[in-house]
């Protein structure tokens, strides 16, 4: 509706009385203060990005036989953590998170069939972490891996 015309019939165009102005003031002050705390809480609780973990040494290149994934462990964030390190020979190196992408049970490397298997709902992955069968919606997560000299360094999750 055009602001200038029909002022008498437009119910929204109530003049701002002192009472209404003060009421709005009380509401706005409360709103701004509350918003400040909500924003602060959100910032405070914001989790670190997925790949935030620092690189750490988990072994020497000679420790890992070609095409034999090994679960290496280290202490981090108050718990013992682990990651599968895989030496693919000429194709390089791969580090895989050991949590199934379906509901994050721990997958096991079963050497006799050369597959990662999840005991919970029967998810199966190949040596590169690609889904072969079962409910997992995506491949195993990759972790950052770097070879510096002879040291194998592993970091946080990729993507």
């Amino acid at each position: 509706m055009d602001k200038g015309s029909d002022k008498d019939t437009d119910k929204r165009a109530v003049p701002v009385t002192r009472r209404r102005f003060l009421g709005l003031g009380v509401g706005s002050v409360a709103g701004v203060v509350a918003l400040g705390y909500v924003g602060l809480a959100f910032d405070f609780l914001n989790p670190p990005p997925a790949g935030a973990e620092p690189l750490r040494e988990v072994g020497q290149t000679g420790d890992f036989n070609v095409n034999e994934p090994r679960l290496v462990t280290y202490k981090g964030n108050g718990i013992e953590q682990g990651v599968y390190v895989i030496n693919l020979g000429a194709e390089g190196w791969l580090a895989l998170d050991f949590h199934c992408t379906h509901l994050q049970c721990a997958v096991n490397w079963v050497g006799s069939v050369n597959k990662f298997m999840c005991p919970c709902h029967g998810g199966v992955y190949d040596i590169r972490g690609h889904v072969l069968s079962g409910p997992p919606p995506r491949p195993l997560y990759h972790r950052v891996i770097k070879i510096q000299g002879n040291s194998v360094m592993v970091g946080g999750r990729q993507a």
Partner: protein, 444 residues
């Protein structure tokens, strides 16, 4: 004292207005379930505060602090009361909800009481879920890992939600501290914030059961014959009911003290298979019926629909009648839902491995006593029907273990070796199964 307070705060007229009303004689203990839930919450608050005085909320200290607590008789009992109290509270909230639904007490003018009750239900389940992690044992660790992973199926923000819940990509000490704060502060605060109006509305509007008295009064009938005063007659009945619930809680907590499993092992070296608390078994079992691609629907879609229906029920159900006979659709749907959930919960609980009694090779095994428990423990989680005799027989050639699919897979002579992705069965169990097949695979 009474006079002193009355003079200043007019307590007797306040008391009169809150508690002097009549309650129909037909009203029974089912109308006291909300009060019993309040009792269960008070039990949780008292025992929870006691537990908080000795608990160490850190990945390195949590398990040891609970172990130490278990060594003291009073400490162990308080923990059992808290753990059983949680079960009681979940059950009582559920029964209270069903009763209110059956009595149609959520209808006008009590819509807001129902909505507050919905918040109380969610806060209760949230408390149960967050409390499960705190002992930092295998059960709690892996149930939390799987439970929080479900949030990952929310479109777009799923991955962020999981990291927000866990304060990282996996369940760590940071998760424990976060859950501790939510369990101790956030959810109890939410619960109290919703409880105050929930209770106030009941006092203000009266229990739905009392409506019929007002209608009778309006018709000019004498309601004294069909009612009794709330204070002290009905109040005494309520107190007696709560005493009964409390006695049952104390009895169960002392007869079945809460145990403590192995310490949390985030690498899961012992191949522990996660399972939820029994009240989440319905959804746990439901997932098994959803094919892979639709998993997200069961984990996010159905609970979301459930929550939306719960909160909008007073407006969805436009049938003004409160009489059961005139609400066939609402009661029918609810009946199907309750039966379905009950059945799923029952199935889910039965598919979980139970401790095996006997060890060693059994020369003449019985199907029900010796074979079925092994199948129950190690195969049923993936292979539905395997632990029934016809289901077992499908995978067995009576008299000939070597050509039996079951035997071939547990020995690994046919790949993949079962149980899938887990260490093979102990040699003694394999031999027992072999003996049973060789003896003709009888249903004995």
């Amino acid at each position: 004292m009474k006079g002193w307070l009355d003079e200043r705060l007019h307590t007797s007229s306040l008391f009169q207005s809150l508690f002097a009303h009549p309650v129909p004689k037909r009203s029974n203990f089912l109308d006291y379930l909300g009060f019993a839930t309040l009792f269960a919450f008070i039990n949780q608050a008292v025992t929870g505060i006691l537990l908080a005085t000795v608990y160490h909320p850190s990945a390195s200290g949590a398990y040891a602090s609970i172990q130490t607590l278990q060594n003291s008789v009073a400490g162990h009992f308080v923990r059992s009361l808290h753990s059983w109290g949680a079960n009681f509270m979940v059950v009582l909230v559920g029964l209270h909800l069903l009763r209110v639904f059956f009595a149609a007490a959520y209808k006008r003018p009590r819509e807001l009481t129902w909505v507050m009750g919905g918040i109380l239900l969610i806060a209760t389940l949230g408390l149960a879920f967050t409390g499960y992690l705190l002992p930092w044992d295998q059960k709690g660790y892996w149930a939390t890992t799987v439970g929080t992973a479900m949030a990952g199926y929310v479109p777009v923000v799923g991955d962020f939600l999981v990291r927000l819940l866990r304060d990282g990509t996996q369940v760590t000490g940071a998760t424990l501290t976060r859950f501790y704060a939510v369990h101790m502060l956030v959810l109890p605060a939410l619960l109290l914030l919703a409880f105050v109006p929930h209770f106030f509305f009941v006092l203000r509007q009266g229990m739905a059961a009392t409506d019929e008295l007002q209608e009778a009064e309006a018709r000019g009938e004498d309601v004294r014959k069909i009612s009794r005063p709330f204070w002290p007659d009905v109040a005494l009945r309520m107190a007696a009911f709560v005493l009964l619930v409390g006695a049952a809680l104390w009895l169960i907590a002392s007869l079945y003290p809460k145990g403590l499993g192995a310490a949390a092992d985030p690498l899961n070296k012992a191949h522990f298979t996660p399972e939820p608390a029994w009240y989440f078994f319905g959804i746990y079992q439901l997932l098994k019926y959803f094919p892979g691609k639709l998993d997200g629907l069961a984990m996010v879609g159905l609970p979301l629909i459930g929550i939306v229906v719960l909160f909008s029920l007073p407006w969805l159900d436009r049938n003004p009648s409160r009489r059961a006979k005139r609400r066939p659709l609402a009661l029918g749907l609810a009946g199907v839902l309750v039966l379905g959930l009950g059945l799923l919960t029952y199935q889910g609980m039965n598919s979980v491995p139970k401790a095996l009694a006997g060890t060693g090779v059994i020369a003449q095994p019985s199907y029900s006593k010796d074979i079925q428990p092994i199948l129950h423990n190690s195969c049923l989680q993936c292979h539905a029907n395997i632990a029934t005799y016809p289901g077992t027989l499908k995978r067995v050639t009576p008299g000939n273990p070597e050509t039996s699919l079951l035997y071939q897979h547990i020995t690994g002579s046919v790949q993949p070796q079962m149980p899938f992705g887990q260490p093979p069965l102990p040699k003694t169990q394999i031999q027992t199964i072999k003996n049973w097949i060789r003896a003709g695979a009888k249903n004995n």
